[in-house]
């Protein structure tokens, strides 16, 4: 698996179905998947850094770099530092991204 610590919050099935419907080849499908993935993890990290005190950014990035997959470690750290339900915030943010992307895919009118 190529796991990131927030993957358990992702469930973009509708988006996936649309991509499979539109993509004409495996290469094209995988390219679209990777583009969506890039958008998602930039948005997710942006959401986290918006909430995380700036003096904790370096420490968080170091943990993320060492164990990008470690859900318990990183979510635990963020809960401790941010004092909010970071999973709920991330879910909301990722839900918005999903809706935006889905909107663009479902209405592909140049």
């Amino acid at each position: 698996m190529s796991k990131l610590f927030f993957d358990h919050l992702l469930n973009l099935e509708k988006l996936d179905k649309q991509i499979k419907r539109v993509a004409k080849s495996v290469e094209e499908r995988e390219e679209l998947w990777l583009l969506v993935d890039e958008i998602i993890h930039h948005k997710a990290l942006g959401c986290i850094l918006d909430k995380l005190p700036k003096d904790s950014h370096e420490e968080f990035l170091t943990l993320f770099h060492k164990s990008p997959h470690n859900q318990d470690l990183l979510i635990g750290y963020l809960k401790n530092k941010i004092g909010e339900n970071i999973e709920e915030l991330l879910s909301q943010e990722l839900g918005i991204v999903s809706d935006e992307l889905l909107g663009e895919i479902q209405n592909p009118k140049p």
């Binding site: 996936d16 499979k20 969506v36 958008i39 950014h57 164990s67 318990d72 592909p108």
Partner: protein
Amino acid sequence: MSHDPPGTTYKINRERIDTDYLRNKLKIKSLEVKNSFNEKYPHVEKFFINRGIDFAKIREHSARVIATGALTGTLLFTPPSGIRNLPAPHEIVKNLADANDNQGGNPSQKELLDSIKRILPEKIGPMNRSQEKALEQVFTNTIGVSAKATLEGEHLNTTYGYIGAEQHLMRYPGDTMATHPKLTEKDEGMAPGRGAWGYVPSENEKWYAVVQTLYLPDWNTRLKYLRDWYKYRKVLIVNTVNGNAVVADIADSGPAAWTGKHFGGSPEVMNFLGGSRYKKGPVVVFFVDDPENKVPLGPVDYNNVNIPGVALREA
């Protein structure tokens, strides 16, 4: 030379434009998001560049970290609460072997489940090599299929994850559900595209699996070899909730990491693993060690006794 009927060319071009338009739109969106992120957090880009990582490709880095951690036994997914109370994997295998002897070599589904649950990590995710080795022995002893987490040096990014329902794959140009074999209820229909290796021969299509080859850390650097190696490679899929097991062959790549799933199964595979309503669930996936190509695709009928409450549990 045949020609498209009137109107078809326009239709194809229209679809092509839409696909290209979509790709371009996603590319622009991706660039916008990246630029905005880098403007707001320039220290993040710098942090990863200093460590030789392109943040846009953080999943590749994750796959390498996981692979290294699995080899060195330092994976840290779950706090090891209560782990000291667990027997070592070799003890679990020995207990299973003893149970088999007592039952004249007919181990029950319950014993398989008890064994694998004591080996599997608390949370679904990659296992270390010790856990995988123990499961290999359990599967050989109970299910009767020689399956390996690492075969000929190849290893999936994870061997324990969620499987999701896939659609039938086209067997030839023009294949449709009008002629394609299907399940009697809740069939998933036909995928709009072809499999990762094109049209899938009938003998490979019914019991097929999907794995995330695109996220393998060396997929791009060893593409030619790996594409051939994975093509219709047999895997043993074991439902860790009810113990149902099936041998399938890899016919497509996926699912996308952001679907929350790690493997896919054909309608027939999913139906056998968990019933007609089974769309997602935890499984272990190992390569079948079958150099003489003797292991048939399809359900592994290692035990006809189902356990009340866990057999054919549907997700």
